[in-house]
Amino acid sequence: MYQYDEIDQRLVEERAAQFRGQVARRLAGEITEDEFKPLRLQNGVYMQLHAYMLRIAIPYGFLTSRRLRRLAHIARTYDKGYGHLSTRQNIQFNWIKLVDVPDILDELADVQMHSIQTSGNCIRNTTADAYAGVARDEIEDPRPWCELIRQWSTFHPEFAFLPRKFKIAVTGAPDEDRAAVRFHDIGLRILENAEGQRGFEVIVGGGLGRTPLVGEVIHEFLPQASLISYLEAILRVYNLFGRRDNKFKARIKILVDALGAAEFKRLVDEEWALIKDSAIDVTEEELERIRRYFIPAAYEELPSSDARLASFSLGKDRAFGQWVRNNTRHHKVPGYTIVTIAVKAPGQPPGDLTHEQMDALADLSERYTQGRLVVTHAQNLVLPDVKTEDLPALHAELLPLGLATANAGKLTDIICCPGLDYCTLANATSIPIAEAISARFDDVDYLNDIGDVSLKMSGCINACGHHHIGNIGVLGIDKRGEEFYQLMLGGAPGNDAAIGKILGPAFAKHEIVDAVDRVIQRYLTLRESPDEPFIDALRRVGLEPFKEAAYPDAKKDKRPAASARAASATTVAAPETQGT
């Protein structure tokens, strides 16, 4: 884990002091709300339906027990006792008073945390593969690069007022993209060439929101040492030429789309030619300095535990077996296992943790996983370094905390935005629908039979719940003042990146859970074998059978659905989208 030196520390303290001054000037009326807004946003403070929301950065999702305890303390002291894990591997508190924010920032700075650039039109928290550093299929730990990007982008004077927000994700696992790099403003994939050299595949202009687009590769193999100059070239082109007249057209994806990837690349290369090989690129010493913080701590020398893990999953204790099967992953170090804690208990809003759970998890992480935890973009937590032999004990301790739900990667492991319960932009509730789906598919055996399938839900077309890249996507829309839900199928975030397709007319609130159920039933009857996952079956047979299942009464009606247009005509006024 990266540790601040005194310079890093001083900067976050100075930032907290700066914001304290800004809040004081706002409260004294010296600056208008319009002028204050970008300042508070760049410190993660959003105006919500009922209160302010504070989003705290968890760089590339990595937490320590000490930091988690501090978050528990903040939840208890300044909020209503819980926090919400976001799809950008951050944590949000929904019931914050503006006057408390400077104190909270001081409390965060004390444990090397901050809320810098967690919103606003600037470079946001860089995200990474949640299994970074421990995944077996990884060729290089992406976190040192994320930290390098964090430092480069923090208070970058040229890019603090971009046309729109800007998100970067990095993965070091070429075969399985768990960071959705093709749906970021910039996605970076660490690759190795035939000569054994490392480079980045640079993907630009992906994104969700109202114009979902898969990113385009503009550099197939960027030498790693040139990363910063290349990023700076991309950002510079975007800052000068990204649209500023319409915020719905201001993301870099619109610029890349309008110019075409080849022309965009040409502009970037032209700029890059003038700044590459200059002092801005990282030195080998600096990279080594950062890398030292990510050298894995003491692993014991243990024999392989793969067979043990397999036997656990088939053992007598069914609940434990299911949990091992669904919530663990092979670790790159023999004898260790990666554990996912699904923060998706039935009846709970996805990603919500109480302060008691946070404290308990901090405690567990110290006893089982060297005090380390990771927030995933699926709004779960990962314990990266658990000894396989400790799994039964860990599971037993998670049970009473309500954190042993065995549904990681399954239908009820839902990603969901705050929706109408918190968000001023929402057209529809999302959390209660997620809860209803969880309740409907509560049976673990049934869930396992259904197998791996992702369900993602957003309360409006801003898509904070990433519904376009769910195998099943649900989008809340407004139809004459009523909450309706559009169902889309086929989205995928990874190496097989795809944007889901709308199935047909939107469903009323009381119909949507049944519709999801019918889609699942149809999958169960048409799959070739239990080993054929939902997404594969869908790709094989196409949308039609699912459409028939979802709209049983409309079998004869061959008219095309009108709801796609209905959805894009939905209007949204204010810019403070929240879920990411």
Partner: protein
């Protein structure tokens, strides 16, 4: 009018001419880019200092050829959320080697000054009604910076052994 220049509050010596006002025989003046281009000969002979005012969508390349003539470049920030001027500043300094006064005007607020200064701006016309004294404090908001910029060509790790 009072402005901030080199971190001090001073009186602006320039007269900012619109395109219809005749150029006076002496004194410091600024003009728009189009006027600079159309009346270059005349301005080159001007006895006072000469500056240009750029809109936020006018690029450094548009003015690069005129740099030898210029003592002042003013870049407009029509809204403080319009960040193009930051890149303009850096390019004028880093790429075109402009050494004269670089001034931000328009919707310029205290909390941008630190970033603007890093991008090469040396003077600032604050938005109406803003305290210049209070704005001066903003230059010291942060004691260090990670990145290279116009004010410091080396990133932190090339300046300090960490």
């Amino acid at each position: 009018m009072l402005i901030i220049q080199d971190r001090a509050i001073v009186d602006d010596s320039f007269t900012h001419l619109d395109d219809d006002t005749p150029i006076p025989s002496a004194g410091d003046v600024t003009v728009t880019l189009s006027r600079l281009q159309s009346e270059r000969e005349r301005l080159a002979q001007h006895t006072g200092r000469v500056g240009v005012r750029l809109k936020s969508d006018q690029l450094p390349t548009d003015v690069a050829a005129e740099l030898p003539l210029l003592d002042l470049i003013m870049v407009e920030f029509p809204k403080f959320t319009d960040g193009r001027g930051y890149t303009t500043g850096r390019l004028l300094r880093d790429r075109y080697g402009y050494q004269g006064e670089l001034r931000a005007f328009g919707h310029v607020l205290r909390d941008q000054l630190f970033y603007m200064a890093r991008c090469g701006y040396t003077s600032f016309v604050m938005a109406p009604g803003r305290s210049l004294e209070s704005a001066l404090e903003a230059f010291n908001d942060f004691s260090q910076s990670y990145q290279a910029a116009a004010d410091e060509r080396r990133p932190l790790f090339r300046r300090i052994a960490r």
